[in-house]
């Protein structure tokens, strides 16, 4: 049994109460996201549809094939990105690290950009899968490069810099593609880049859900190693934690989570940076045993709130801009607090 300093071990009772509160809030937001949208569906119709007694075909279609997969995607994306952000912040001991810092999301963008802007294949059911597969391939490519570099590199800071550089290279290639494309293709790629939860259909969810669940479970299994990393690399080695191995696990799982989400929804910013800090603020602990589930729940909460806000008008607001509007004030608060 390893001995960890006191401020890492949290007080159990208040944590349970807080978790309970957040879980209730999450369920409430989930129902709200289903009930609210651009058109008003009466609450009785909402309940009837989910109890199988729905009468209006349009309402049923909207609730079951539009709002429900969107709400589930919101929860999956929110949890995956927050937990990835948490791992990145722990690995690099940097409060401003986000899930995209290793360039994985840029890799996904490159895959999507290549498909959309060179071949013009976007319409058609096959089209959306081609974009997803290309995005996953792009993310996987960058991930493998970063993992390869992690073997060679000594400090975490070097890995961070290399990751950012990979991201920059890939983004530049995307820029070149945009320069040579016709306006229609560019418009579609820009729309992809703004992120969209409603792009994910039930078919997509069949693939996305298991990937995210596996990623989240694997993350939780790393919690002791993550705590060890927080103590500093020498202490961690003393506890028997292999730094290189841990780094590689973290890179792979983060790439899996953030790459998968980005491939299906497009990039969604700021959730990854902001939520771990909100979790630390609420639970007042640095223990990953608490922070991982907390980030999962709070990430889902935040994205659900963003989704509800973005769907209130007749016009859809892109999720990426809404999440940034929420996340940026949090970052400012962090900076001010650190003084």
């Amino acid at each position: 049994m390893t001995v960890l300093p006191k401020n890492i071990i949290p007080c159990p009772h208040s944590s349970f109460r807080r978790f309970g509160g957040i879980i209730f809030f999450l369920m409430f937001l989930f129902l709200l996201d289903l009930a609210w949208g651009s058109i008003r569906i009466p609450i009785t119709d909402v309940f009837n549809t989910f109890l199988g007694k729905g009468s209006d075909e349009i309402y049923s279609e909207i609730l079951i094939n539009f709002r429900l997969p969107k709400a589930i995607t919101a929860i999956l994306a929110g949890s995956a990105l927050s937990v990835s952000g948490l791992m990145m912040q722990t690995l690099f001991r940097n409060p401003l690290a986000d899930p995209y810092v290793l360039g994985v999301s840029s890799g996904a963008s490159l895959g999507a950009a290549l498909v959309m802007m060179t071949t013009g294949i976007i319409a058609g059911s096959a089209g959306s899968w081609i974009v997803v597969i290309a995005a996953i391939a792009g993310a996987a490519l960058v991930m493998m490069l970063v993992v390869g570099v992690s073997f060679k590199v000594q400090s975490a800071v070097s890995l961070l810099i290399v990751g950012i550089m990979f991201g920059t290279i890939v983004s530049s290639i995307v820029g070149v593609l945009q320069y040579f494309s016709n306006p229609d293709a560019i418009k579609l790629f820009v729309m992809w880049n703004l992120g969209s939860l409603s792009a994910v259909t039930w078919e997509h969810l069949k693939i996305l859900t298991p990937i995210i669940l596996i990623g989240l479970i694997l993350t939780y299994s790393l919690q002791r190693r993550l705590d060890g990393l927080l103590l500093g690399e020498n202490y961690a080695k003393g506890l028997g934690i292999s730094i290189v191995q841990t780094r590689i696990f973290i890179v792979i799982i983060t790439s899996l989570l953030s790459g998968a989400v980005t491939a299906f929804t497009g990039p969604i910013g700021f959730v990854g940076i902001a939520v771990p800090h909100i979790a630390r603020g609420i639970f007042k602990t640095a223990s990953h045993r608490i922070l991982i589930p907390a980030s999962i729940l709070l990430g889902a909460v935040l994205i659900l709130i963003c989704d509800i806000v973005s769907q209130i008008l007749a016009y859809t607001l892109p999720i990426n801009t809404i999440s940034s509007l929420f996340g940026a004030p949090v970052i400012i608060w962090i900076i001010l607090k650190r003084r």
């Binding site: 949208g37 651009s38 058109i39 075909e57 349009i58 279609e61 909207i62 094939n65 539009f66 969107k70 013009g120 976007i122 319409a123 058609g124 059911s125 089209g127 959306s128 016709n182 579609l188 729309m191 992809w192 969209s196 939860l197 409603s198 792009a199 259909t201 497009g266 769907q311 008008l313 007749a314 016009y315 859809t316």
Partner: protein, 227 residues
């Protein structure tokens, strides 16, 4: 510059364009064509007179445009006096956003002049409206005709998004695209010659909405989606 043209004609998006300046410095005059700023279909087509001036063919351009204008207005007056105006929808769902033409856009003008009823025809914006799929389902599910759908077959349309099947035009097979003159390289003549021939475009839409007015019309740019 290697081509050594007599002049360069470009769109006047940015009058202080650096590359245009360089062309001018090489002694090649730059002509700004602002037809894209016109707010009406006929207005856009009238720019043929502008281009004709550079080739000393002003009279020819005048007569061509007069023909186009007369034909357009003739068809328009016939179509606008019909009693029953079919409802129209346009565009399709892309990742949760459905772009519909705004009230003062070219598409909306086309629908109105062809004797159609378009839900957003009184909207004051030009360009497109980025609508939520839910709003589109609510306002357009019971409409009559679906124009400017960018797919080629109904099967593809429904496979991309099952919600597309909920619209009455899909159930009644009255969905049309503007891809009749479309090359495999993804070049579409709708974006090229249709600008100069609004009369053909109007004829297409009238033939779709009110076949009794133009019984012998052969569609030029529009084609019905095959099942």
């Amino acid at each position: 510059m290697i081509l050594k043209p007599n002049a360069l004609m470009m769109s006047g998006y940015n009058q202080a364009d650096a590359s245009a300046q360089r062309i001018r410095q090489a002694g090649i005059p730059v002509i700004y064509n602002n037809e894209w700023k016109e707010t009406s279909l006929l207005g856009r087509a009238e720019w043929i007179k502008f281009v004709a001036e550079f080739y000393d063919k002003a009279e020819l351009a005048d007569s061509i445009f007069l023909e186009i204008e007369t034909r357009y207005n003739e068809m328009k007056s016939k179509a606008m006096h019909v009693e029953k105006k079919p409802g129209i929808m346009a565009g399709s769902n892309f990742r949760g956003t459905w772009y519909m033409p705004a009230g003062r856009s070219f598409m909306s003008e086309l629908f109105r002049d062809a004797g159609g009823d378009y839900f957003y025809q009184n909207d004051a914006a030009t360009g497109s409206l980025p609508l939520n799929v839910e709003t589109v389902l609510k306002n357009f599910s019971d409409t009559d005709v679906w124009l400017n759908c960018s797919f080629s077959t109904i099967d593809e349309l429904v496979k991309t998004d099952s919600k597309h099947a909920l619209f009455r035009p899909v159930k009644e097979n009255r969905v049309y695209n503007f891809n009749k003159r479309f090359l495999p390289s993804t070049a579409n003549d709708f974006w090229e010659s249709a600008i100069a021939r609004p009369d053909l475009l109007l004829g297409d839409v009238i033939a779709i909405l009110h076949p009794e007015i133009l019984p012998d019309w052969e569609l030029v740019y529009a084609s019905r989606l095959s099942p």
